[in-house]
Symmetry: C2
Subunit: 131 residues, 2 copies
DNA sequence: CCGCACTAGTTGCACACTCAATATAACCCC
DNA sequence: GGGGTTATATTGAGTGTGCAACTAGTGCGG
């Protein structure tokens, strides 16, 4: 039982740690990106789109593919993409081969903004995670 | 520069890891506690109150002391305590020695609910963190 | 070919969160 | 001791999120 309670305590400590690091990093990223009109999740989606472009040369990416990589509900992601589109950072278009799906593609503006703010996000990561 | 880019990539990977573990654990805890009318943050506050009771024998705790331990804004915490009070789990009273502050004390119901759901939260932690 | 189950994405709704402003109380220094 | 500053907690406004319901499209089996 003693073992059990100490292992439980370790788990708790670890969880507290995760909570703390998560909160501080999130906050730091938001602070760095907010002046550019982006939140942490917005950047994450932009980042995924860029890396996806590099990976398979395609300019577009299904919403589904983004959803797999980001920890957001379908609806939150849908609205997030809606906001990015409204800001002219991405474009949506129906996927012809499966008309249930929609393609999401970066615009020039989106790509530019990403290259602009990427260093800021990385710096924020470094500040908190290397502390 | 090569060093720089790989260390950056490590940072990114670590961040992705934190994000993933955080999301899954949060979700698991919420799922376990929701049937009892609590969210993860609610439980965390209850847990803090219990441990504070054990620590210095006092039955009450300043809002400030809770705020130091939980990653929420002042206003979010105030409303959270308001909800707990509405549900009869805690009681608020003005702090006599410093009348700016307010005491927060567990009710019997709050203590009971905590002992009831604590194992569930621990189990959720174990499920995700030991995976 | 039609129906039926399944998948992809969006929308309505409720709710918790943050930021900024506010109220009240305490501290402090002249 | 009174006026300015700081500390503590609450409230108002705006926003993002998750759940559940919904629409549209696919594909399989009879």
């Amino acid at each position: 039982m003693a073992v059990n309670t100490t292992s439980e305590a370790r788990l708790e400590d670890r969880w507290r740690d995760i909570l703390s690091v998560h909160a501080r990093t999130m906050c730091e990223i938001d602070r760095a990106l907010h002046p550019h009109g982006l939140g942490a999740s917005d950047f994450e989606v932009l980042d995924i789109l860029v890396s996806s472009e590099l990976a398979h040369e395609g300019e577009h990416c299904r919403v589904q593919n983004i959803a797999d990589r980001v920890h957001l509900s379908q609806s939150a992601l849908s609205r997030l993409i809606g906001r990015l589109e409204k800001d002219g950072l991405v474009e949506r278009s129906v996927c012809l081969e499966d008309r249930r799906g929609v393609w999401v593609a970066l615009t020039r503006k989106g790509r530019d903004l990403h290259t602009e703010v990427r260093p800021l996000q990385r710096a924020a990561l470094a500040r908190v995670l290397n502390a």
